[in-house]
């Protein structure tokens, strides 16, 4: 008997010693109701990454991450995304791989995914599986959310729209959302930026009007929510990777030849008090198209930005930037940058104003990305920057986020909700999500 008792006590001590029972995180929904949380937006919301929308990227979209936290905390029962049927989407996905340029040099960089897309499967309607709580549609501008017929124009919406004349907002309204996360407006300025100042910027009044229409509709249904503001394009890898002076001159002969070739231009430019086109040994600024210049060209200035997708072969082997002015669509000039900055400021002011009108909160994505762009951000032993490929925030298209980038965004949204709705939604570990894969 005594022996048994001792045996039992030893066993009990052993078992209790071997289990640690940590205090659980105390989640709280504060003043918000997340029962039916809807995410509205564009490609960033959809989970687009490395040039395409595909299933594994959607699984790590920031809506999926935020929703999982809400589900884990018990504030939301289920969450469904309009998942693509596979990993190739509509076929524009990129991966890291080797390519050989016109000089015969092989280097590591973005290349095609290398698997033929199944376009029929990608375009097949999955509306019957709905409703969906991630209503992000790649390419959508603010007014598109209200646009009946958008499903027939945009296959990413078409594939999950409940009807041909459905609106994105309508898909949300039909679900009676209690909470909304809206990140829209990037394409209203990004289109202009990524086309090098060709596609128009949405007028501020149109932007503000559409945004108010969306939020007022949802607010009237009793939804609360957060509005994410728009980051400056200069905080994205798409515009910060290719330098303004990517032309290396290593021989004095080349320097002299180019200087001679632009001698006539320089004489005329000097007469007009314009900057000269000058060449030296080392890194040189590209010659770009500029219709405002008397000769339709000039040398790009420091601070002006070049698109990530400028054809490198054209620079290396076909005289772009030296003998042929780089087409304007690949460059954001200082005038265009000023317009973009104004537009971003105006849109973000509209976002703040609309949020204030309805008592919604603003997630300062602009401030967050600017901080990462300026300072980098160390998270769980990894340094995240906006550098292309190595930075870890942006995917291979330079605009859309990696899984890690989405997790950073998700934590920012959670932080804003927690602060403004007196809630305590659990944050996630950023390193539990994925980044780019090297060969």
């Amino acid at each position: 008997m005594l022996k048994n008792t001792i045996y039992f006590l030893v066993l009990a001590l052993f078992v209790s010693a071997c289990t640690l029972e940590p205090e659980e995180f105390e989640a709280s929904k504060g003043t918000a109701d997340f029962t039916k949380t809807i995410f509205l937006g564009n490609s960033l919301t959809a989970g687009y990454s490395s040039g395409e929308l595909y299933q594994s990227a959607q699984m790590e979209s920031f809506p999926a991450i935020v929703a999982q936290s809400l589900i884990d905390a018990g504030f939301m029962e289920s969450f469904k995304q309009p998942l693509m049927p596979n990993e190739t989407g509509f076929g524009k996905r990129l991966k890291l791989g080797y390519s050989t340029d016109c000089t015969g040099a092989t280097s590591l960089g973005p290349v095609g995914y290398g698997v033929d897309p199944d376009l029929v499967a990608a375009g097949t309607s999955i509306a019957a599986d709905g409703p969906f709580q991630n209503l992000g549609v790649p390419g959508a501008q603010v007014s598109h959310l209200l646009y009946s017929g958008y499903a027939t124009l945009n296959p990413y919406f078409g594939r999950f729209a409940s009807a041909a004349d459905a609106t994105i907002l309508g898909e949300a309204v039909a679900q009676n959302p209690t909470f909304t996360v809206l990140w829209i407006g990037n394409n209203d300025v990004l289109g202009y930026a990524t086309s090098g100042g060709v596609a128009p910027i949405t007028p501020t009044t149109t932007f503000a009007g559409s945004l108010d229409a969306i939020v007022s509709t949802l607010d009237a249904l009793g939804s609360k929510g957060v509005l994410c503001n728009i980051p400056d394009v200069t905080s994205t890898a798409f515009f910060t990777t290719v330098p303004y002076n990517p032309i290396p001159l290593t021989s004095q002969g080349n320097v002299d030849a180019l200087t001679a070739a632009y001698a006539n231009y320089n004489t005329a430019a000097a007469a007009q008090g314009l900057d000269l086109i000058e060449w030296t040994l080392g890194a040189n600024a590209m010659v770009i198209e500029d219709p405002t210049n008397f000769a339709g060209m000039r040398q790009i200035k420091p601070g002006e930005l070049v698109r990530l997708d400028i054809p490198q072969d054209s620079i290396k082997c076909y005289g772009w930037g030296t003998q042929v002015p780089v087409p304007g669509e690949y460059v954001l000039t200082s005038d265009e940058l000023a317009e973009i900055e104004t537009a971003v400021d105006n849109f973000n002011a509209s976002i703040a104003a609309v949020a204030a009108d309805y008592g919604w909160a603003v997630v300062d994505m602009n401030g967050m990305l600017e901080d990462i762009a300026n300072n980098g951000r160390r998270i769980e032993g990894k340094t995240y920057t906006i550098d292309f490929v190595t930075g870890g925030v942006f995917s291979l298209d330079g605009i859309h986020l990696t899984g890690n980038g989405n997790a950073i965004v998700a934590n920012e949204i959670i932080e804003t909700i927690n602060t403004n709705y007196n809630a305590s939604i659990p944050k996630v570990m950023v390193s539990n999500y994925s980044g780019l894969v090297f060969p």
Binding site: F14, E24, F25, S69, E380, K427, M429, S434
Partner: protein
């Protein structure tokens, strides 16, 4: 051969399981004699041991748990600790009434833990196995009726193996780096024992610090081929690093309350401040692969120990003890490589004497680590750590 990995059983990477009799009494033993383990606790006391010859060996089995909880979230990760089995061996020989010699072989430092695969702190540490076997020939001399002195020369065989992930993903997941190295160091263990009255004794001892400097270590990298091919990373390189084993200054008193009951108090002062940072100096560097300096900023700590033993009968002695072990880890430089906490230890033990000259020593120690909220600031890795352990141990003593 007994596996000798140990696991975090005292603060920092010290292992305080150096005698089952001592462990049963809260690991006291600087100020009184508990057999040959005095070689470790206080070499000054060995000359007082009345046995002509003695052998004492023991092993403990560590079942430990560590849990990490991410800050402001639900994330949890655990260690899959291999079961640690630190051991000791002591032998003593009394040359004459005043002079004794002895040899100790034990593992007073060690750290072995493995966090679960792909855990969120993998860029800080995946697994570590640090081992240190100390071989200590010792001589002790009884100077007069109230004072005896002793000194041992310690040769330590140290080895370390460490694995962490590198935040670059390849076809098979995250990249990794493996660091492996070993080194031999020398130190001193010296002490004085005071026999103050029939009932009261006291002792002080000093174990010198050793700086375990690994110079011929091997760093093996598992990174995507593309990044080895283009020279971003070496695939293998040498490294050097230094892990200090700190000074210990120990003070103990013991009082015989009755013929059968003894109580003891020990205070250990551990000069952990010597562990300022862990620096890896790699032979081959690239812009992406630099030497790394990892601040640790440990503080000196005190451990307070209390123990008692009661001779129930000739064949059986019972022991109990408790201690409070303050952590040397820093709130801002707190790494999951050595997840320290202020710890409370509760122990019990017994010695059974089935026949003459032979003893079986049993001990049981439960360690409760206080919940620790801390951050490794350089890596922005923040959370709450929980730790505990259950350590049964057995030892045998043969003496005549």
């Amino acid at each position: 051969m007994v596996a000798f990995t140990a696991s975090l059983m005292a603060e920092g990477y010290q292992v305080n399981l150096q005698g089952q009799k001592n462990t049963g009494m809260g690991h006291t033993g600087t100020g009184f004699l508990l057999g040959p383990s005095i070689i470790h606790f206080n070499p000054g006391g060995l000359a007082l041991y009345d046995k002509k010859m003695s052998f004492n060996a023991g092993v403990s089995t560590i079942f430990s748990n560590n849990i990490f909880q991410g800050a402001e979230g639900l994330y949890e990760a655990q260690t899959e600790n291999p079961i640690g089995t630190p051991f000791y061996f002591y032998g003593s020989y009394k040359i004459n009434d005043d002079l004794a010699v002895g040899l100790g072989v034990n593992t007073p430092y060690g750290n072995s833990l493995k966090w679960e695969d792909d855990w969120a702190g993998r860029y800080l540490i995946n697994s570590i196995s640090m081992r240190s076997i100390h071989i200590q020939p010792t001589v002790s001399y009884k100077i007069n009726d109230w004072l005896s002195a002793g000194v041992g020369m310690t040769v330590a065989l140290n080895s370390v193996e460490l694995n962490k992930s590198i935040p670059i993903t390849g076809p098979n997941g995250d990249s990794e780096i493996d660091l492996e190295g070993s080194t031999t160091t020398f130190g001193v263990n010296a002490g004085l024992m005071f026999t103050l009255t029939e009932q009261l004794s006291a002792g002080i001892s000093y174990r010198s610090q050793m700086k375990a400097k690994v110079t011929g270590g091997t760093a093996t990298l598992d990174v995507p081929e593309a990044l080895i091919a283009n020279g971003t990373f070496p695939d293998e390189t040498g490294f050097s690093a230094t892990l200090p084993l700190p000074n210990n200054i120990n003070f103990g008193v013991a009082y015989k309350v009755t013929e059968k009951l003894l109580v003891a108090l020990d205070i250990n002062y551990v000069q952990w401040s010597v562990y300022d940072s862990l620096v890896f100096d790699f032979e081959d560097n690239t812009p992406a692969f630099q030497d790394s300096r990892n601040p640790r900023e440990y503080s000196n700590t005190m451990i307070y120990r209390l123990g008692a033993q009661y001779d129930l009968m000739d064949e059986l002695t019972l022991r109990a003890g408790a201690y409070y072990d303050a952590t040397p880890t820093n709130d801002e430089y707190y790494t999951p490589e050595t997840p320290g906490a202020n710890k409370i230890g509760l122990s019990g033990g017994a010695t059974i004497r089935p026949f003459e000259n032979f003893e079986i020593d049993l001990s049981m120690l439960y360690i409760h680590g206080q919940k620790r909220e801390a951050e490794y600031v350089p890596d922005n890795f923040k959370g709450t750590y929980y730790t505990n352990a259950f350590i049964p141990g057995i030892g045998l003593t043969y003496s005549f």
